[in-house]
Amino acid sequence: MAAKIHQMLHHHSSSKDSGAPSEPDSTSPFERQDSAMDRAREDEKRALAQWEDKQRPMSPGEVHMDPERKAVGHSSRTLRKQDFELIKTLGTGTFARVWLVRLLDDRKGAQDSVFALKILRKVDVIRLKQVEHVRNERNVLAAVAGHPFITTMVASFQDHDSLYMLLDYCPGGEVFSYLRRARRFNEPTSQFYAAEIVLILEYLHEKEGVAYRDLKPENILIDAEGHLKLVDFGFAKKVENRETYTLCGTPEYLAPEVIRNTGHGTAVDWWAFGILVYEFLVGQPPFWDQNPMKIYEQIVEGRLRFPSAMSSSARDLISGLCTVDTSKRLGNIQGGAQAVKSHPWFANIDWDQLYQRKVQGPIVPHLRGPADTRNFDEYEPESGEREAYGEELRAKWEGFFDDF
């Protein structure tokens, strides 16, 4: 199922000569060289190297600004893959590979400028019919860049055959790994992580009109300070007041209305959030079977079973969220996210402090340095073969990637 993308690693030197890019270039317009371009690129790289320094939580209003006017989230016409040294694969998805990269820059201090670079090959995106999803992903990430608990897309760019999203590196790895290792999270830990997720959903739904549609521990990373960062906006979509129909998500986390194809909206995230809290506390999601159809049958039926020792407020929260009827689902009913925040299970949360990242998280990764990858698994190197992004495909699709 998981089609690997076949991006061959252009072996370019990671040594000092690249401060002034002078490699001979192809005819691609993206790689055109002239001195104005060089200067713009140098400016951009300087800004990148300094981005870390001025990080502080932006207010929801600041995050909501037009991406082209924010410090982060713009589409760059100057950055290129050659501006980065690819250090290690951090993760692979169905059609993307995410690399730990270092900004190639001579200035002192730049050695520490590491990012995560998500690379998607245009051919794969087209072949897997994900063009629309990838566009949504970029646009949503641009719109939300700067939110304290969403991975920041610093910039996006493209070249002849690939799309790039330059992201903040989250060295803590996936919540998934901690959860599986720990088997279950205790209540305070679950509450802390769940609460940060509530702030994300509140922002996405109520400020941006965006449904995220793929909530699960695999898509939640832990940053250097122990706070969450939501990644993978591949299915995120601005829905506003229109329902949408394309089935997407992860089997155990699909909401009943997605399975039934009756149209869905942001309420699917509250369902998935209930599943997530359950999985935090129990160690596995409530609806499961070897046979996916049996999972879906259980989901549309919506009968939850709880371990007897689960606290009654946790049960009440999960039951409210995992309600088949969307007109009764907590988070979707009157009050929206606020109704979730006022639930007794979150009684100990100081929501303002939390948004300001002033509450200490239960797991703070121990790191040797900014480029430490100990919290990530090893991934197979990419295979050498690659399908070409030929003229025919290009003629048909290139327009769709214009604003990348």
């Binding site: 199922m1 998981a2 998805g93 169905t94 019919k129 599986r180 290792r181 720990a182 088997r183 279950r184 999270f185 205790n186 305070p188 830990t189 679950s190 699960k216 591949g234 299915f235 506003e240 007041n241 329902e243 129909y245 394309t246 089935l247 997407c248 998500g249 992860t250 155990e252 399975i259 194809n261 009756t262 149209g263 909206g265 160690g283 499961w288 070897q290 996916p292 159809m293 049996k294 049958e297 259980q298 549309v300 079973r305 371990p307 007897s308 020792a309 689960m310 969307t326 007109s327 009764k328 979707n332 009913i333 009157q334 200490q360 998280g361 239960p362 797991i363 121990h366 100990r374 197979e380």
Partner: protein
């Protein structure tokens, strides 16, 4: 006997490293690899110990986040009592897990708690899974030392998605579902064949007629034809009209070449049976190979057709409801977002001709929109109807506002379909209607003249 999964995981990680590094000194390389693994496991363990120190405003208790939140054991181990409690609320009739058959009642009570893990959990998780042959053995991560009450797959889960669908009426192409004529007999057989399938169960009459109409006949001329192949991508769902098919599963996850390539025969399907329903959800690899054992006939339905039928009818219904709601004066200040929420919550009900939908004098609970058919309004003391309702008309909306008794009765004159929502439902979604009305004109809500809004309220 198979090798322990922890061991296999380590070895395959080592294999990958070897391929990558191509070491000259293989033995030294392997030794280094295991040392590194040991080091990182110890580091992880020590790290987890550090997490257990209380800090951060009490967010972390005296336990690693991994502790069993329900158990009483301070050691943080996954205790017997914890396992027991997870099971005790499970209702056996609904457990679909392949291991469920082996959950002997009361087994935990018999297991001595100090016995070695294997025997304590003997009838659970691992050994049970091996005995009952799940389609693919669950794989545990290297760090999982204990068995799990359910053989949950501990791996990272991949996302799924179907082709992107846009409703017909929002685009310009005019899609109508394909229609293949069937005899009444065939129709009723098909209806019966899909009746038990949860994907078909919620369909209304129109949808179900469209879906049944879209099923296409597919003759299978001889025996030995592989209709679907394990591991291939799947786009069709099949119902057997006549003939018979064998189902094979190869443990490798896909059909292999060679005489044993099919794998084990796990079942047969005959007339009225069906297979391949996952293809109606999204494009996933087939879980089995299905081979004809004689000349047969199938009915086939593809995912895009199925999902478009569902989508188009849902889409049209929502737009229709939103349109109706726009006409409701009481709700004129709703934002489009709120209107779409109400449209989503409206429930469809059908009544035969002659049904009293609301009765004069009753306490009003719900509000109604007439979706199809006609109805008449009667008031006590007069024989003639005082008003007629047709498609798109609405009544009883004052029930959303107060508990005043219904001012008239509404009786269907034909078979009718109504969309309805109760006061509770409305308030749950948007809060009290008074608040919504006050948006328009703060003075209005209190001094409201109900006559102007609902003829039924007239005394």
């Amino acid at each position: 006997m198979s090798l322990p999964s922890d061991y296999s995981n380590e070895i395959s990680a080592l294999n990958r490293e070897i391929v990558k590094a191509q070491p000259a000194d293989v033995l030294q390389f392997c030794a280094n690899f295991f040392l590194r693994r040991l080091e990182s496991q110890r580091a992880e363990f020590l790290l987890s110990q550090q997490h257990s120190s209380p800090k951060g405003r009490g967010m972390a208790e005296s336990t690693f986040p991994g502790n069993n939140p329900f158990g009483t054991s301070p050691s943080g181990a996954f205790t017997t009592s914890g396992m027991h409690s997870l099971e005790e609320e499970e209702e056996n009739d609904t457990i679909a897990s392949p291991t469920s058959a082996s959950f002997a009642p009361g087994i935990m009570d018999q297991a001595p708690s100090d016995s070695p893990r294997e025997s304590t959990f003997g009838n659970f998780g691992w050994s049970a899974a091996a005995g009952s042959k799940p389609l693919s053995p669950p794989v545990f991560g290297a760090a999982d030392k204990q068995s799990f009450p359910n053989n949950y797959n501990m791996n990272r889960r991949t996302s799924v998605s179907a082709e992107s669908l846009n409703p017909t009426s929002s685009t310009h192409d005019n899609w109508t579902p394909p229609f293949h004529q069937k005899t009444p007999d065939q129709q009723s057989r098909l209806r019966a064949a899909v009746a038990g399938n949860f994907l078909f169960a919620p369909l209304d009459d129109d949808q179900s007629a469209q879906v049944l109409g879209a099923l296409q006949e597919k003759p299978i001329p001889t025996k030995g034809i592989k209709v679907i192949q394990q591991g291939d991508v799947g786009d069709y769902f099949y119902v057997v009209e006549n003939g018979s098919f064998d189902i094979y599963v190869n443990k490798s996850g896909k059909l292999e070449s060679g005489p044993d390539g099919l794998g084990n025969r796990v079942g047969t399907v005959g007339p009225g049976g069906s297979f391949g329903e996952l293809a109606l959800m999204y494009n996933a690899p087939r879980a089995a190979t299905v081979v004809s054992t004689e000349a047969s006939t199938l009915w086939a339905l593809d995912r895009v057709t199925f999902r478009r039928i569902l989508m188009d009818s849902a889409f049209q219904r929502r737009r229709m409801y939103e349109g109706f709601l726009e006409e409701v004066q009481l709700l004129s200040s709703l934002t489009p977002y709120e209107r779409s929420k109400i449209a989503d919550a409206l429930e469809t009900k059908k009544y035969p001709a002659g049904t009293t939908i609301i009765r004069e004098g009753d306490v009003g609970e719900s509000f109604y929109i007439l979706e199809t058919g006609e109805a008449q309004v009667f008031k006590r003391g007069t024989d003639k109807p005082v008003k007629k309702y047709k498609k798109g008309d609405y009544f009883g909306e004052l029930a959303l506002l107060n508990d005043a008794p219904r001012a008239a009765s509404v009786v269907s004159t034909t078979e009718v379909k109504v969309a309805t929502l109760g006061k509770n439902g409305f308030q749950r979604l948007l809060g009290p209607v008074e608040g919504i009305m006050r948006r328009n004109d703060p003075s209005k809500a209190s001094a409201m003249d109900s006559d102007a809004i609902d003829p039924l309220a007239r005394k």
